[in-house]
């Protein structure tokens, strides 16, 4: 497996909480202690069907970039791809979880794209080679991604046993897969992993070109 993991449980694993909401906080940093953004923390039910949360996601194209970089959606979620740029984009993905393309459009496409299979989807733009974004489709409504401070907070999670997966787009495999039991007490986890930095590929200059 690619990637390193070291798992470290802080004190505070308490007993079971009564029925209510649990909270999981994960903080991810890389080997030099810096916060790692855009890591997905997912709590999967070991069995059974999870409740479906009808949610919508939006991945916009602005300044010739996908925003956000990582989007986590539950299977079946529709994702909209509004084009906020003054020129057209041609979005595509060849990922097995969702192969689609939206050719040369401006503004908002008529229909959102439904991601109906779990898995990792890589998005690209045919016109702008450097544009990339990820969509992680999961079978659970309980997920969060780390922000710029490296924190991800999962709230109102029914206590119980879960499988926690932590994944980063720049890693092939999950960087952590753990059984975790959530109770009354919130759990904070601090994880460390060696994540390759985001390579910003050169953008062609905007002046003189109008594509």
């Amino acid at each position: 497996m690619t990637g390193w993991q070291s798992l470290w449980l802080a004190a505070g694993i308490a007993g079971f909480a009564p029925a209510g909401a649990s909270t999981l906080e994960v903080r991810l940093s890389n080997s030099s202690g810096q916060a790692v953004e855009d890591a997905a923390v997912v709590l999967e039910l070991p069995s059974g069907t999870p409740p479906l949360r009808q949610a919508r996601a939006v991945i916009q194209q602005q300044d010739r970039e996908f925003m956000p970089y990582l989007t986590i959606v539950q299977t079946g979620t529709s994702v909209e791809f509004p084009n906020r740029d003054p020129f057209k984009h041609h979005i595509y993905s060849f990922s097995a979880a969702k192969t689609f393309e939206i050719k040369l459009y401006a503004g908002k496409p008529e229909k959102p794209v439904v991601f109906d299979k779990p898995g990792k989807v890589v998005l690209g733009c045919n016109i702008h080679d450097w544009m990339e974004a990820y969509v992680l489709v999961v079978d659970t409504p309980y997920f969060a991604k780390t922000g710029s401070d490296g924190h991800a907070r999962l709230d109102k999670v029914p206590p119980g046993e879960y499988i926690m997966r932590v994944w980063h787009p720049r890693l092939q495999a999950d960087l952590a897969v753990r059984n975790i039991t959530l109770g009354q007490t919130p759990i904070s986890l601090a994880l460390q992993a060696s994540i390759p930095p985001r390579v910003s590929r050169p953008k062609s200059p905007i002046n003189g070109d109008s594509y």
């Binding site: 595509y92 060849f94 192969t99 890589v122 998005l123 690209g124 733009c125 080679d129 990339e132």
Partner: protein, 782 residues
Amino acid sequence: MTFSSLRNRITVIFVGLLGLVMALILIAVNRSGEHIISAELERELSAGAKIFERLVKQNQNQLETTAAVLSADFGFREAIATQDQPTILSVLRNHGSRIGARVMMVATLDGNVIADTQHPSAAPRPLPFSDLLGVAETQGRSSGFAPMADGRLYQLVVVPVQAPVRIAWVVMGFPVDDQWTQEFSAMSGLKVSIVRSAAQPVMLASSLPDELRADLVAGFDQMRQFQPQTLSLAGQHYQTLALPLGQHAVVVLQRQVEESEAPFLALQKMLWAILVGGVAVFILGSVWLAQRIARPVSRLAEAAQRLEGGDYAGPIHITSRDEIGQLATGFDRMRERIAEREQRILKLAYADTLTGLPNRTKFLEELARLTPETPAAIAVANLDRFRLINDALGHAVGDRLLIEVSRRLDAMPGRPGLLARLGGDEFAFLLPATDAEGASQFAKRLLTVLREPVLLDGQRLDVDASMGIAFFPTDENNAAILLRRAELAMYTAKKQQRGFALASASDVSQPPEQLSLIGEMRDALARNEFTVFYQPLLDLRSGTVNAVEALIRWQHPERGLVPPIRFIPFAEQTGFIREITPWLVATVMTQAATWRASGLELAPSINISAVDLLNIGLVEMVKHHLASHNMPPEMLCLEITESALMEDPELALEHLSQLAACGVQLAVDDYGAGQASLAYVKTLPVHKLKIDQLFVRSLAESGKDAAIVRSTIALGHALGLQVVAEGVETEADLLWLREAGCDYAQGYWIAKPMPSDQLPNWLSAWKLPAMTEQTTPASGMI
């Protein structure tokens, strides 16, 4: 010939210099040519290497660009993402054929080839160039050279397919074959060969023709990478540079040396042609020039030779105005000047400086030119008493006198022939075709001319002359002897105060052999050919012989005994007597000493000439000999003739006085035949008078002679002198003389002059027959 060598020298020097310069040029061109060629080769190789690298890069860029375009193609990416192999292959082919790439592959991220246009239906297999792949993974893309399964080398690029992240690799490539190398060769101008470096090097591709490839492979092991070196392929030389090509191969870049050399060889050939042509032209040119220089010079040399030989005629015809022309002009002027000067010198040589008349040399020359067909008379004139005038009035006056005389002589009317001044106060005339009568007339005219007194500074100078005339060829053939005879005739005329005399008529006739005798005298003295004879003097009172007269004789090897009359006068005239007399004195004294030693007391008498008498060293010489022979001065008697005394009476008197003061006896010889005056004789410190034989010889017959002799005896006795009679030839003479009271007698009747060795015998044998009648007191010397 000296001039051909001058011409040759000029030619050789010019041509040699040209050859030297051309040789230097050739050498320099050669050297620099070699440098240039090798620098050129190096430059071409390095330029070619750079071009090669650039072309390889260009190829690579082209591959990368095409592969990049391909890998960005949406349909292609979609085909790869969806594993649509046919589509992948068709897109690969489409793009690859645009640039002629033979290798077109797609590989997965883990290095498996999933599409290969060369093997379209092959199963996935690993990419055969893992090193290229490794580089591509770290650096994003890679390019290089790698061999493939078919053993050939390919130029490859590996480019990622991004969708949008890397999903696959595209590999594109060109085969490195002969076409590939030929394209490079055409563009770089070098021969390109690709050799796989292995234990056995293999030529993978080359732009060389087949026959050279084997040699290249053979020489492959000697090649050092990055270092240019020379390789020989099939006899031709290639400057070679080997560079690595990827990890598996070496590219060998070559430039044929002969190609680079070609322009220089052409230049060299041209230089040689110029050299040869130039040398030929130069030779011709310098020969011509040398000729132009040497010919006038040789003409000048010829002219110089002519000049040397005395030929002053003939100007030199050199008309050029260059330096040689100037030389010729100067030479010509010099020739004229030399001719002029020679004329002047000749004139001077033949002219007497004082009077301007022709001189002795000229006169003799003219004389020598006479032939029997051109008879002539020569007259020699001498001024009388010139020496007296010179001594009395000084040389300046004497010179002016001579000038005046010469002027007069020159101005003589009707003077035919040549007038010359022979020297001193002697003049000579050459009178062509003149007989004795004409010559005599001429002589009389001349003497008349000269008898006119000369007026100098108001002083009247009486000049008189004596002339001697001789005739060519009647008197003499030889010019010098003829002149001498004329001179002698002149002396005779002077002596006899006759004015002029003819040579034939003068007493002194000189047979030809006489003159050679004069020359031989000097040798004779050296060779002891002179000898002394002695004639006894008879003392008439005692009847004994106690004195002898020494007479010189010449024992000539050819002519026998030469009497003194034949050579003594000339000895006196030439002054040679001054060498004879001391010898005579020494010889005689030696002899007398010898006689004395053996008991014979004979007092010698020696004849002294005028020259001896006037010689300043006479007295010293006599004294010296007296001393060295230990002879009492009274035993020596010196005889001097009257005429000798009259030459310079004062000086004669001086010397005689000195001699007498020493004790030497003095006698006046040939008394009565000379010009001595009694008044003079009276003053002389002499002791004896010798009566000339003229008077004694005919004593018995001639009453006049007898009277003269008798009175001379009386005179002598009266003056206190002894009297000697010379030339006693008969007994009667002897008796007469004895009876007349003469003191001494000498003559053939008593004894002829005899050699010294005969004298003692004669003395012992001799008796005075008629002396028995008279007894003489005392003196008993035998």
